[in-house]
């Protein structure tokens, strides 16, 4: 039996099942976006659902908003993770506890965190009451559902930081001490050691972090629904809205779902390419 065929046969029971299920789901979403699997009427192969969405301002706003939240969240999470990873690169007293605290958000469901945040920053929440009490302002300020999405970006960074931390810490810890010492001996300062040694040697981990966080944040439903600005939709919340009884537009929702998948794919490719370009540029500067 040819070697290639043997490998395929060996992989088929596991990978084959996964691929079949994935492809079936993707096919259903794509087909539904073109009018097939229509729950509300007859199946009709058509571009009208895509055309309808392309003319819908809410669709473009949601696409822009999801892209914005995903890019900012992924970049900030990695930017915050890097100094922490470098600081905790070698063990010291208390570093284990610090490391555990950084990973703690993984164990808190996002929905719980979002509601906790809302409670704290609400009109008569702790923050407002405290700041009034100490005289910073006279009356409560509306911070809930802020229009710039700072709350959801904060939640995303908080929630995704452990992922970036775990991926980057392995890569940073693998850099031999003597490489960093050699760079230092040759006159490289902290910043130079970071951009000319650490960054190039951890670029793969950084790419993985950025891509995974980007995909997670682009597809966010929970944070947007609870803490996001009411005047914005993420693609996921808009998709659910169109599936709902107010619209019952499953084909339109499928268009949004496919768009979300395309955004994740394209965003990942762009992020991966940008990281390579930036890393090379920083080496040269």
């Amino acid at each position: 039996m040819p070697n290639g065929l043997r490998i395929i046969l060996l992989l088929t029971p596991g990978l084959g099942l996964v691929m079949t299920l994935m492809i079936w789901v993707l096919y259903r979403a794509f087909a539904q976006s073109f009018g097939l699997y229509n729950f509300n009427g007859d199946d009709l192969l058509t571009l009208s659902h895509w055309q309808g969405m392309f003319q819908n301002r809410r669709y473009w706003n949601a696409l822009e908003w999801s892209g914005y939240i995903a890019v900012v969240s992924a970049t900030l999470a990695v930017a915050v993770a890097y100094p922490l990873v470098i600081w905790l690169r070698r063990p010291f007293k208390g570093s284990f506890l610090l490391s555990a605290l950084i990973k703690a958000p993984y164990f808190v469901p996002g929905l719980v965190a979002a509601f906790l945040l809302i409670n704290v920053i609400s009109y008569h929440g702790f923050v407002n009451e405290f700041l009034i009490w100490i005289g910073v302002w006279d009356q409560p300020v509306r911070m809930q559902n802020d229009k710039n999405g700072y709350a959801i970006i904060g939640l995303q960074v908080w929630k995704q930081l452990p992922l970036a931390f775990l991926l980057l810490s392995g890569a940073v810890a693998a850099i031999p001490d003597n490489v960093l010492h050699a760079a230092q001996d040759l006159g490289a300062g902290t910043w130079d050691r970071f951009r000319k040694v650490v960054l190039p040697m951890t670029v793969t981990a950084m790419q993985a972090s950025l891509i995974l966080i980007f995909i997670g944040a682009a597809g966010d439903f929970t944070f947007q629904a609870v803490a996001g600005p009411t005047r914005e939709n993420s693609l996921a919340t808009l998709m659910v809205t169109y599936q709902g009884a107010s619209y019952s537009d499953w084909n339109g929702a499928a268009v949004i779902g496919v768009t979300l998948m395309v955004l994740s794919l394209l965003g990942s490719i762009v992020f991966a390419a940008l990281v390579q370009i930036v890393a090379k540029l920083m080496e040269r500067v």
Partner: protein
């Protein structure tokens, strides 16, 4: 007796292998349907709100008929409808009796999903409504829950004498009290009702008018944009109410039964009042229908009958603050004053909310 026994046995045989055909069920006498329901012995009712309360409410039904009622937790009406649609091609689905918000009938074909028409065979069918929130359920579903959108206010901060009643007074009030009116535009119909009736107010459309076509909505968009600082958009009905209860707003758009239910459970202050202004707010209700592929169709039908009976509707009015859905029921215990009922408007014509609300969202709130 022998006839009932033969009929019941025959029907039991039918239902054991396949779904009871519509025409067989619908051609039976009410006594035979009740007998068949008792044979079935159980019914699953998909009801998306107040599930814990309804589990208590149906104990009276269980005691009367000996039919066990199962009310699973349902996250939303959308999820329940989606499940029903996904199961519509199955021979037997999980759902026997299904609750819908009235307006969902605008986007569904009742005969595709439901057994019927059921209204003619319900003992009190003549006192019930099948045209709800602008949707014609074609007698496949009947209203079991009456609700009214209203403006809830805090009497400690706004006297009943100072309530804005006409649209002009309402405009003046929000201008004098910026940021003190909260309403949602999705995740619940109370805000959309306000948006809908503001649009009618701006365009001068009265409930009795007939419009050949939807007028230009630009003045409506302009009004919402000009008044953007005067109102606060909330995330949902629940968000409006919790922020109102915390004192963030003086006035919110809400549902009468929603706030009454929360007051009854002690979750919000019992000092809150609500009213329907002269410029109108939509009233409507929720309907129940028997799933086309119900495993226990007769029991579902009997439960639908019990829920819509004058006696049960009077109890809903007292315990939940609903407006009654049966013309023979007593509706004197509701939160909205009786005189305000005359201000009730409907979701559909003139100027259907389906034309107004999505357009306002796209051109104003999420422009």
């Amino acid at each position: 007796m022998l006839r009932k026994l033969i009929m019941s046995t025959a029907l039991l045989g039918l239902t054991s292998s396949a779904v009871l055909a519509d025409d067989v069920l619908l051609s039976m006498s009410w006594e035979d349907i009740v007998a068949q329901a008792k044979e079935e012995g159980s019914v699953t009712w998909y009801q998306w709100y107040f599930e814990p309360e309804f589990r208590v409410v149906v104990e009276a039904f269980e005691a009367e008929y000996g039919i066990e009622v199962s009310i699973p937790d349902v996250s939303s009406v959308d999820d329940a409808i989606n499940k029903m649609m996904a199961e519509q091609d199955l021979e037997t689905g999980d759902i026997d009796l299904m609750s819908f918000n009235g307006s969902s009938g605008l986007r569904l074909t009742p005969s595709d999903l439901l057994t019927g028409p059921i209204q003619p065979i319900l003992p009190e069918g003549e006192s019930l409504e099948t045209f709800v929130e602008g949707a014609d359920w074609e007698e496949y579903a009947v209203q079991f829950w009456g609700n009214q959108t209203c403006l809830a206010y805090d009497p400690d901060r706004l006297s009943a004498d100072d309530l804005p009643d006409t649209f002009v007074e309402f405009e003046a009030w929000i201008a004098e009290n910026p940021g003190q009116l909260g309403f949602n535009f999705e995740n619940g119909g109370s805000g959309p009702s306000l948006i809908h009736n503001i649009a009618r107010g701006i365009l001068g459309v009265a409930q009795a008018d007939t419009l050949a076509e939807t007028p230009d909505l630009q003045p409506v968009y302009d009004w919402f944009i000009e008044n953007e600082d005067n109102y606060i958009l909330t995330a949902s009905n629940a968000d409006s109410l919790s922020r109102f209860n915390s004192g963030e707003f003086i006035m919110i758009a809400t549902w009468e039964d929603f706030i009454a239910g929360n007051i009854n459970r002690g979750e919000v202050s019992d000092r809150f009042e609500c009213y329907v202004p002269e410029f109108g707010l939509n009233g409507g209700g929720n309907v129940v229908g028997v799933a086309k592929n119900a495993a226990n169709p007769a029991a579902a039908l009997v439960l639908a009958s019990w829920l819509t009976s004058a006696e049960t509707q009077t109890m809903f009015n007292t315990d939940f603050g609903t407006s009654t859905a049966n013309g023979q029921a007593d509706s004197s215990a509701a939160l909205v004053p009786d005189e305000d009922r005359a201000n009730k408007t409907v979701w559909g014509d003139p100027l259907p909310d389906t034309d107004v609300v999505p357009a306002v969202i796209e051109n104003v709130f999420q422009r």
